[in-house]
Symmetry: C2
Subunit: 423 residues, 2 copies
C-alpha cells in the first residue's frame, strides 16, 4: 500500500467522457489498495475562456478579482471527478484550495504555496475516500482565492505530494513520458525510464514542455518522485503501474537504480532539446572598458529580462568590441526599448536583433565526469556546415545558438552523434 | 445617502458587454452617495451548462459536489463585475459566499440562509467600495459550498438586504416592473407602482414569474422593501431612481402611501394572473364516507405533492361521490402512480387526468373589504360562456380553473371587468 498523488491536465479533463476515463485510471490505482489524492486542471480551453473575460472586463485587471474568476475551471472539474468516481462506486470528495486550506504567499496570479494543511485530508484519505484537489489555486493570507500562474497545477500536485509525504506523484499528460528528443523531429527518439531533476529542469527550460519548470524545482527541493505518463491509450489498458512512463528522481536515486541493474556504463547524454523562442541581440562598437558590460545588463536585469547566452567579441581596434546576447522573444520589445533609452550611457553604435535563431542543448548528468561532450557537438555540427552563433554551458548541459532553419537538422545530427537513436 | 442592495439576473450578466451596462447602472447609484452591495447571477445559460455536466458525470449526484460545481457561474460574474467597476474608476470587491460568510443550513442544492456576517462587508462598503456578492450560494455548517436552489439569487439579495438593514433591495430583471397582467396577452396592461408582499406572493405563485416566491416571503418576514425594475433600455437612460419600477411593500406601508397621495378609493383588484402548469385529476365514485378524502390526500402530502384546488361533488346515489383536485403538471406522473397504488384502499372507480387546463386568478388586497369580487368574476366568465371547472379562494385572491384554450380570453375579459385597462 502506497500513498499516491495523481495529476491530470486539461486535455485529460476536457468533458465528462474524458473525466470518466480519468476516473477509471484513478479506480485502478485504488484497486492496488493505495491511498490516492488527485490534482486536476480545468477543462482544456476553460481557463483561457475565463482569462479572456477578465481582459474584456478590465485590461488592467485587479489580480485578486482575476484569481477569483480564473480559479473556477478547476473547481468545476474537481466536483465532476468526485461525482464520477462516486458513480463508479469509489468514495471521493473534493477539497477546494480554501477548504484544505492551501496557504499561499506572494502576489495574486503568481502566488507561491507556503504550506498545505493535511490533517483532515489524510484522515479522509485513510478512511477510504479519494481526495480530489483543484490544481492552480490556493488561498491568500487575506483569505482570498489565489492562483499560481499558468501551468500551476503541476506545482500543486508536487506540493500536495510533498505535504502528505506521498510515495510518488504521477503526472498524467498527453505524452507518455520524457523522450531523448522531440519525437516529431526524430522518429527514433526513445522514451527515458529515468531522468534526474537537474536534467529535467534543463530539458524543460529549453523546450521539452512536459512539466512546468517550477514543479520540477519544487520536487527536487522536497525530494518528490515524479512519474510522467499518459492518460490516453485504449480503454482496456492495464493499471498505471504496469505501463510506466518516465521517473524523475534524484541523481543519488538514479545511481542506486543503475547499480541495482548493474549498469556500469552510464549514458553520457540523456536528451537533446531545442528552443525557437529565443532572440539574439547584438550591440556593435561598445567601449572595451571596465563597466561597459554592466551598463548593458544591469538595466535589463532590473526589468526582469532573462538574459541567457552572452558573447563579447575580441576587442577590435580603437578599444571597441561587439556584445551579443540572447533573451526570450517575448521580452525582445522591452529589451530594445530599454537599450535604446540607455544608448548614450552604454555608448554602442548599432543594435541588431534577430529572432530567426534556435537554441539546441545536449543535456546529461553523465557529462559531469566526461570531457569532450562539447567538442563532439561542435565538430558534428561543423561537419554539416551548421554555423554556431553563441555557446553556453553548465555542469550538465551544452547549448549552442544556430540559425532557426537548421533546428531539425541539428537535433537529428546530435541525436545520432550521442548514440540516442532507438532501434 | 442610503444603503442599497442591487440584484442583477443572468440575462443582465450575459457577457462582458452586458456586465459593462450593469456597472454603469451601479455607478449611477453610487453617484447618489449611496452605499451599494450588488448580488449577481451567473451568465444566462451557464448554470444549466454546469448542471448538465453534473448529470452526465453522475445522474444520482452527490449534492455537496453538485453545489461545488454549479456555484461557479456566480463566482465568475462577481469577479468580472468588480473588475469592470474598477475599470470605470469605482472601487469594488467581490465577497464569495464562504468569504463573508453566508452561513446556510439544510440540504445541499436547496440550502437555506441562516445568517450573514456583515462586519467586514459593511466596513468595506463604508470605506467606499461597492460590494459584489455572488447570488445563489453560501457555505454549509461543514464548511462546504452550498446553493439555494434555482432562482436563489433573488433570495440572496433579499437576505443581504435584511442583514445589512438596507433601505431598499432593487431587483433588476428583463421586465421593468410588475404589471396588472401579462402584457403579451393584454396590450393595455399597466405597470403597478406598488404591490404588497401578499399580492406579489399570489401573483408570483400563479405565474407572474418576476421574482422567486421564496424571496418575496423572506422580504415580507424581514420587512425588506423590494423594487423590481429593468436593467435594459437605452444606454443614456437616467439613473434608476428617476425611472421607478414596482415597489413591493407591506400593506401598512401601502396604506400610508395612499393616504399621502390622498387616494381615498383603493383599487379593488391589483392584477390578473394565469398559470398553465396545473393538471386536473378526477377520481370517480369515491365512497362518500368519513376518512375517504384523507385516504386520497395523505399519501400525496407525504410525497410532497402540492395539491391546490379540491372539489368534492355533491354525493351521488349509493353513497358515492367524485373528487377533483389540481396539482403541478410536473408532479402528475408521480401523483397518478401513488393513487393507482392505493386504489383499493381509497376505493375509487376511475382516475381521469387532464393537463389542458389553466388557472386564472384575480388578486388584490382591496378585496378584503369588498364583497362581490368572486361573483363579478363568475358572471363575467359566464357571459362569454367560459366554463368554470373548479374554484379556490383566499383572503386576497379568487382563482378558477378553466379550459386551457380559453386562457387569453378569460384574462382579457377580467382585466376589463375590474377596470385595469390602461389608456
Amino acid at each position: 500500500m502506497a500513498r499516491i498523488v495523481m495529476k491530470f491536465g486539461g486535455t485529460s479533463m476536457a468533458g465528462t467522457e474524458r473525466i470518466r476515463r480519468v476516473a477509471q485510471i484513478v479506480q485502478q490505482q485504488c484497486a492496488n489498495g493505495d491511498h490516492v489524492a488527485v490534482v486536476v486542471s480545468a477543462m482544456a480551453g476553460e481557463t483561457d475562456r475565463l482569462i479572456n473575460f477578465c481582459r474584456e472586463a478590465n485590461p488592467l485587471y485587479d489580480p485578486a478579482e482575476y484569481d477569483a474568476v480564473v480559479a473556477n475551471g478547476e473547481q468545476v472539474t474537481s466536483g465532476l471527478l468526485a461525482m464520477t468516481l462516486q458513480a463508479m462506486g469509489t468514495p471521493a470528495r473534493s477539497w477546494l484550495g480554501w477548504q484544505l486550506p492551501i496557504h499561499t504567499i506572494g502576489t495574486h496570479a503568481k502566488a507561491r504555496i507556503e504550506n498545505i494543511e493535511t490533517d483532515r485530508l489524510l484522515a479522509s484519505m485513510e478512511s477510504g475516500n479519494v481526495a480530489i484537489i483543484p490544481g492552480f489555486q490556493g488561498v491568500s493570507e487575506a483569505g482570498r482565492i489565489s492562483t499560481l500562474g499558468r501551468g500551476g497545477s503541476d506545482t500543486s500536485a508536487v506540493a500536495v505530494a510533498a505535504a502528505i509525504k506521498a510515495d510518488r506523484c504521477d503526472i498524467y499528460t498527453d505524452v507518455d513520458g520524457v523522450y531523448t528528443t522531440d519525437p516529431r523531429i526524430v522518429a527514433r527518439a526513445q522514451k527515458l525510464s529515468n531522468v534526474t531533476y537537474e536534467e529535467m529542469l534543463e530539458l524543460a527550460s529549453v523546450g521539452a514542455k512536459v512539466l512546468q519548470t517550477r514543479s520540477v524545482g519544487l520536487a527536487m527541493k522536497e525530494n518528490v518522485r515524479i512519474q510522467v505518463l499518459s492518460s490516453f491509450g485504449d480503454q482496456d489498458a492495464p493499471p498505471a503501474d504496469s505501463i510506466p512512463g518516465t521517473m524523475i528522481i534524484s541523481e543519488a536515486e538514479l545511481e542506486a537504480l543503475e547499480l541495482e541493474n548493474s549498469k556500469v556504463e552510464r549514458q553520457l547524454i540523456t536528451g537533446i532539446a531545442h528552443d525557437k523562442n529565443e532572440a539574439k541581440v547584438t550591440l556593435t562598437r561598445v567601449p572595451d572598458e571596465p563597466g561597459a558590460v554592466s551598463n548593458i545588463f544591469t538595466p535589463l536585469s532590473e526589468a526582469a529580462i532573462n538574459v541567457d547566452m552572452i558573447i563579447q567579441n575580441v576587442g577590435r581596434d580603437r578599444g571597441e568590441t561587439d556584445v551579443t546576447f540572447t533573451c526570450p522573444q517575448s521580452d525582445l520589445t522591452r529589451c530594445i526599448e530599454i537599450l535604446e533609452r540607455t544608448q548614450e550611457k552604454i555608448g554602442f553604435n548599432r543594435l541588431i536583433s534577430d529572432t530567426k535563431v534556435s537554441k539546441i542543448s545536449v543535456v546529461g548528468v553523465g557529462m559531469k565526469s566526461h570531457a569532450g561532450v562539447a567538442s563532439d557537438m561542435f565538430s558534428a555540427l561543423a561537419d554539416r556546415k551548421i554555423n554556431i552563433l553563441a555557446i553556453t554551458t553548465s555542469e550538465i548541459k551544452v547549448s549552442v545558438l544556430i540559425d532557426e532553419d537548421e533546428t531539425e537538422l541539428a537535433v537529428r545530427i546530435l541525436h545520432t552523434t550521442y548514440g540516442l537513436d532507438g532501434a
